[in-house]
Structures are given as structure tokens and as C-alpha cells.
């Protein structure tokens, strides 16, 4: 892939398996391969979309990047520093750089703290003394996300979902991060509010030069904000491409399914007629080979045998599928 120097974050072969414990002695009965070898890279000042259905491990990736969860294997390289084995103490300076905006606007704000108190936690971390100066910064932050400054003394329950999401964004910005992970920030909101929050995120990026990892289960949303997109399925990255290329020419059958699920604005255009077969529960022991097997309409014998490599099919365009040849031609009828 690209050279590392203009990447703010690079993830290599990241893995996280969760044990499923059973019985009196809490023996490990099985492993959930929530993240099973994920590679990502986020360019400085750009947005990477991470798309996949719910339960595929997107939030787990996010929590590992923030070191809220220890990765089992792999590297997380933030600005040439491998933080994947960092202790809490080592992480102190990095914490200010990477922040997160959560999906659930109700659970992400402390109900017993005023909005101001929640945001001020970050200002405290920055070492801004209590008093006029901190208050000024707080009000500025609130204005930056489009909230009135007197919201600071209110409790979260007095706000709507979209407003809370703005407050969550203000809290993330309070430590002046350079990378913000947006974990499905708009999927719990009304459609009319979604666009506002997307616009806000975009404006903030232009103003502050932020980099985003934008997580979504909806490919449609990703198009507006993201420069590149990684498509994830059951802990694996299936396809990685610049957004337009992904929309124009999706290689992976799974990406095609996701695109087909987008409602078409022009009724005349033909839709790809791919239907996925019945899902397999993720807790079942996964067979070797492609994560999509059993669900893919183009399945071939080799798909069941071993994990396929990430194949380059064009500039910045990679696909993980046995049925895509070295020359980038799909060996099935798209």
C-alpha cells in the first residue's frame, strides 16, 4: 500500500478474539473472532470510511485504536509510533490526539454531569486552569459545534439526540485531537438531523484539519465524507478503494451487495441482483477460507480452503476474494 509517512494512523494485521466462557469454572468454550487481521490506513487530514454490517467488529477496531481494549495481535501505528503495546502511562500524550464520537447520543454523555462539566474534563486534561479562561474555551467549543454557550449549565436530558451528538463532538474536540474516530455518529439520528451532523463534521475537518475514521453500516453515508473506504465483513477487510472507485466498480461480491442495498435515486438504472444467502451466526466456529462462504453467490471450491490474500486490482484498490484474478478482472459475472 502507500508509504507510511503521510499516514496519521496505520493498522497492520490487527486481531481481537473474545473468549466465550462456559460452565462453573468459566472455561473458554469458543472464541469470537471479532477482529481477525485488519489493515487500515488513514491519511493526514483525510477521512477513511469503515463500512460493514452490524456486529462485524467495527467498534472493536475503534476501541483498540483508542486502547480501551488491548489488541491480541497486530500493530497500531500512530504517527510513526507503534502504540499497540503501550501501557496506560505511555498512552497519556497519545490520548489527546485520538478521540471518539459514539453512536448512541443517550449513553455517551454522563447523565449526572452538566454538559459543561463533561466537556471541561478535556480542558482539565489540557491543563487549562479553572475559571474565566476555561469557561471561555468551553463556550467557544460549544459555539464551534453549533450549540448556544448557555447549554453548558444544562444536563444532557434537556437536549435532543442531534444536540447531544454535537455535545459529544465538542467533548471530543476539547483536547484538540488530530484524529477523531466517528463510530456510527449519525445512525441513531433522524434523517433530517443526519445531514446536519455530517455537515458539521465536514466543516470541522476543513476548519481544524482533522483526520477521521468514519464508521458506518451504510455505504450511502460514507460517500459524502470519505476519501477512501474499507469494507469490513466478520472481522476481515474485504475491499479497500477510493470512494468513487468503490461506487463505480466494486469488485467484491459483498461490496456489491452493500451497494445494492442503497435505494437508487434514479429508477431507470439497473440494480445489481445479488441476494445474500442465510446468515451464519458469528459465534459458530468459523471455517477456514473466506469469511463470506456460505453466503456468497459466486462461491467456488477454493473459497473454503484458505484465507485469500489482499489483491491489488487498481491504483489504491485492493480486494480480498479468490475469484478476483491477479489482473483485477473478476472471474464471475458482476
Amino acid at each position: 500500500m502507500n508509504s507510511a509517512n503521510h499516514n496519521i494512523l496505520q493498522i497492520k494485521d490487527l486481531k481481537k478474539y473474545f473468549p466465550i466462557r462456559k460452565g462453573f469454572f468459566q472455561r473458554v468454550a469458543a472464541w469470537v473472532k471479532a477482529v481477525d487481521g485488519v489493515d487500515l490506513e488513514i491519511e493526514e487530514g483525510k477521512t477513511l470510511g469503515l463500512v460493514g454490517e452490524s456486529g462485524c467488529g467495527k467498534s472493536t477496531v475503534a476501541r483498540m485504536i483508542l486502547k480501551l481494549l488491548e489488541p491480541d495481535e497486530g500493530n497500531i501505528i500512530f504517527r510513526d509510533q507503534d502504540i499497540s503495546r503501550f501501557s496506560e502511562k505511555d498512552m497519556k500524550p497519545i490520548r489527546k490526539e485520538i478521540q471518539i464520537v459514539f453512536q448512541d447520543p443517550y449513553g455517551s454523555l454522563n447523565p449526572r454531569m452538566t454538559v459543561g462539566q463533561s466537556i471541561e474534563e478535556g480542558l482539565r486534561i489540557l491543563g487549562i486552569p479553572r475559571g474565566e479562561k476555561r469557561r471561555g474555551r468551553l463556550e467557544k467549543l460549544l459555539k464551534t459545534v453549533g450549540m448556544s454557550p448557555d447549554s453548558a449549565d444544562r444536563y444532557p436530558h434537556e437536549f435532543s439526540g442531534g444536540q447531544r451528538q454535537r455535545i459529544g463532538i465538542a467533548r471530543a474536540l476539547s483536547v484538540e485531537p488530530s484524529l477523531v474516530i466517528c463510530d456510527e455518529p449519525i445512525s441513531a439520528l433522524d434523517v433530517s438531523i443526519q445531514a446536519q451532523i455530517l455537515n458539521l463534521l465536514k466543516d470541522l475537518q476543513d476548519q481544524l484539519g482533522l483526520s477521521y475514521l468514519f464508521i458506518s453500516h451504510d455505504l450511502n453515508v460514507v460517500g459524502y465524507l470519505c476519501n477512501k473506504v474499507s469494507v469490513m465483513y466478520k472481522g476481515n477487510i474485504m475491499e479497500y478503494a477510493p470512494t468513487e472507485k468503490l461506487y463505480e466498480h466494486p469488485f467484491h461480491p459483498y461490496t456489491q451487495t452493500l451497494l445494492a442495498a442503497i435505494p437508487e435515486p434514479e429508477p431507470g438504472r439497473k440494480q445489481a441482483a445479488i441476494t445474500m444467502r442465510e446468515d451464519i451466526p458469528i459465534s459458530a466456529p468459523p471455517p477456514p477460507g473466506c469469511a463470506l462462504q456460505g453466503r456468497c453467490p459466486h462461491e467456488a471450491p477454493e473459497c473454503r480452503d484458505e484465507k485469500m490474500p489482499f489483491v491489488k486490482v487498481g491504483e489504491d484498490h485492493f480486494v480480498r476474494c479468490w475469484r478476483v484474478g491477479q489482473n483485477g478482472v473478476a472471474r464471475y459475472e458482476p
Partner: protein
């Protein structure tokens, strides 16, 4: 970065939707609807005032109401009866001019004694529950927040070493005990030192056994809770109190030390669910330290059920103290408590029923009031109820 941004994005600033209401107002709005709880609260406040004025009026060398003044010629007088002024010396005349709640078998004024006893009940209730809540919050907080961490074999061994040393010293084997204690402390010191200098040194292979994980902190604390709950607590308290010199402080401490288990369970359960919440993750992502996350972010959210159980716990502690005093294990005479007034009165239950009725009824009312108030609190603090408003 943010300070450089000249103008905020052009959205028109968002205003909150809900009318401004402080937590207290909202709390009161909900609480007001519960009549019984309001009654409980009123009695609670009354009891507090009575106990406090009672303390002021019955203590000192020359109290306004003297609870220990013996007038043998005036024994077992009924409530509201007038004193026989001709038989009393001037300082023996009751302050109110009548025996408001009668006198006991030594002619002591029951009203004065009830006043004095109210303060005992109040302090025993609050201090005992205070102790149990502090222990409970601490244990529950650790079990809930750090519970998944494991205790290593060497830590277990050091604990054994230290307690064996302490036991030896206690049983007059000071020499060997001191050796064990020094060894234990030396190892702890070594561990701390290692932590300070070598940040992440992998232990050598031959010491691997010492770093074996035993049980998790959560398991340890929760099994301790289970063990404590196995004892019928009243009899446990009785045993301990029988061994210790009788004093009001011992009673408070013993009740406190035997009633922290409920709080521990509540706090642990709350913490287990809170630590998975996004706002805690957000605080961690900001780099807020553990101590502040526990006490600033999580505790205020976990405190509601603790408050409820503490209110009901006060009632239980008052009842326990009364029971102990009734059995003669409580606060030593001549200090009056509701329990020992009741106990003294039971011999005269047919001749002087007020001696049992007055303290009995007071205990009933106060305990009931605390329970009603506690249950009212539980209803109001329940977040599911709150969401509707």
C-alpha cells in the same frame, strides 16, 4: 487549533429543548406525588430535630431534662400525671410540671429518657450505616471496576506471610513474627521498586510460578460477601458484642462491619453496567485517571440504590441496637436507649404499660418512617421512572 477558528459554522446556535429544571426540582416534583414517602420524610426530620434537641437538653452536669434523676417515691406514675410536689425537693420537680410520658420503676422521667435515647438511636443508625456504606462503596467499587484483574500467587503468599507474622507477634512469639513481617514487607518494597525502575520487564522464567494468576479480585470480594451473608447477622453481632466491652461505639462499629454486603452488591452491579457505558469509555479516551473516573464519573450514577439501601439500613440499625439493648448487650446503663427502656419496662407491662408502649411505638414509627422514605427514594431515583418526565 480551536482558538484559531475565526467564526463558528453558520447553523444558528442550537438551544436546549426541555425547560430548565435543576435535578433537585425534578426530584421534588416526583417525590411530592408519593404521600407515604412525604410522611416518612416529615417524621424523619422531626426525629432528627427531637434527637438533636434531646441531646442538648439531657446532657451536661445540670441538664434541663435529667434522665437519670431517681425519685423512688414517684415510681410508675402514669403519663400526664401531676407530681406530688410536697414529697419532692425543688430540683426533683419535672421541668414540664407533669410527667408527660410517666415514670419508670425508679421514678425516672420517661420523657427525659426517651429524649436521651433518641440521640443514641440516631447516631447508632447513621454512624453504623455510614461505616457500612463506606466499606460497601469501596469493596463494590473495586470489585466492579478492577474486578477482572487477577491476584498473583506471590501476592497471596505475601499476604499469608504477613498475617502469619502478625499472628505470631500476637501470640507472644515476637522474634519469629518479626522475621516474617520483615520478609513480607521487604518483598512488597521490592515489587514497588521494580515497578518504579523497570517499567515493563518480563519476569525471568524461574519466577514464573510466582506470577501465576490465582482468583480474580471480583471473585475474592464477592465470595467474602457470600461468607458474611451466611452468618445470621444478629447472632454474629451478639457474639461479638458479648466479647467486646459494652459501649455505644463498639455497637456502631460492629453493626457497620456486619452490614456492608448489600451495598457492596449494589455498587458492584452498578459499576459493572456503568463501565461498559460510552460516557465512561469517553472519559477513558480523554485520559481521565481511574480515581477520577470512579469517583467523579461513575459514583454519582451508582449512588442512587446505595442511598435507598442506606435509608432502609438506618432503620435496620436502629432496630438492631434496640434489640441488643433489650437483651442487655447494648449501651450500658444508666444511659437510656429506647431498647433498654423497653427492656426495663417489660417487667411492669401490666402495671405500667406505657413503659413498653412509648419506646415500642417510637421504634415502630421511626423504623416505618425510614422504610417509607427509602422506598419513596427508590421510586424517584429509578431512572426508568425519571425518563418519563
Amino acid at each position: 487549533m480551536i482558538e484559531e477558528s475565526a467564526s463558528p459554522p453558520d447553523y444558528g446556535l442550537e438551544q436546549p429543548l426541555a425547560p430548565r429544571r435543576t435535578r433537585l426540582e425534578e426530584f421534588w416534583l416526583l417525590f411530592r406525588q408519593n404521600r407515604l414517602a412525604i410522611m416518612g420524610l416529615i417524621i424523619f426530620i422531626l426525629f432528627f430535630c427531637i434527637a438533636f434537641t434531646g441531646l442538648l437538653l439531657t446532657s451536661g452536669s445540670d441538664p434541663v431534662f435529667d434522665p437519670s434523676l431517681v425519685r423512688l417515691q414517684e415510681k410508675l406514675r402514669a403519663p400526664f400525671s401531676k407530681p406530688h410536689l410536697e414529697t419532692l425537693r425543688p430540683n426533683e420537680i419535672p421541668t414540664l410540671g407533669i410527667y408527660l410520658l410517666g415514670t419508670d420503676d425508679l421514678g425516672r422521667d420517661v420523657f427525659s429518657r426517651m429524649l436521651q435515647g433518641a440521640w443514641v438511636s440516631l447516631t447508632v443508625g447513621f454512624v453504623a450505616v455510614g461505616i457500612s456504606v463506606i466499606i460497601g462503596i469501596f469493596m463494590g467499587g473495586i470489585a466492579g471496576y478492577f474486578g477482572q484483574r487477577h491476584i498473583r500467587l506471590d501476592q497471596v503468599l505475601v499476604t499469608c506471610l504477613l498475617s502469619a507474622g502478625a499472628a505470631l507477634v500476637f501470640f507472644n512469639q515476637a522474634k519469629w513474627g518479626a522475621v516474617l513481617l520483615v520478609l513480607g514487607h521487604a518483598y512488597i518494597f521490592y515489587l514497588l521498586l521494580m515497578r518504579l525502575i523497570a517499567v515493563r520487564k518480563i519476569p525471568p522464567k524461574r519466577f514464573e510460578l510466582l506470577h501465576l494468576d490465582t482468583i480474580s479480585i471480583d471473585t475474592l470480594i464477592m465470595r467474602l460477601v457470600d461468607i458474611m451473608l451466611c452468618f445470621p447477622s444478629f447472632f454474629l453481632i451478639l457474639t461479638v458484642v458479648a466479647l467486646l466491652p459494652a459501649s455505644i461505639y463498639n455497637i456502631m462499629i460492629v453493626i457497620g462491619l456486619t452490614s456492608w454486603m448489600g451495598t457492596t452488591r449494589f455498587v458492584r452491579a452498578e459499576f459493572l453496567s456503568l463501565r461498559e457505558q460510552d460516557f465512561v469509555a469517553a472519559a477513558r479516551a480523554l485520559g481521565v485517571d481511574n480515581f477520577r473516573i470512579i469517583f467523579r464519573h461513575m459514583m454519582p450514577n451508582a449512588i442512587a440504590p446505595v442511598l435507598v439501601s442506606a435509608t432502609i439500613g438506618i432503620a435496620t440499625a436502629i432496630l438492631t441496637e434496640a434489640g441488643l439493648s433489650f437483651l442487655g448487650f447494648g449501651v450500658p446503663p444508666p444511659h437510656a436507649t429506647w431498647g433498654n427502656i423497653l427492656s426495663d419496662g417489660k417487667n411492669f407491662i401490666f402495671d405500667a404499660p406505657w413503659l413498653t408502649f412509648v419506646p415500642g411505638f417510637s421504634i415502630l414509627v421511626v423504623v416505618l418512617a425510614f422504610n417509607l422514605f427509602g422506598e419513596g427514594l427508590r421510586d424517584v431515583l429509578n431512572p426508568k421512572l425519571r425518563e418519563r418526565h
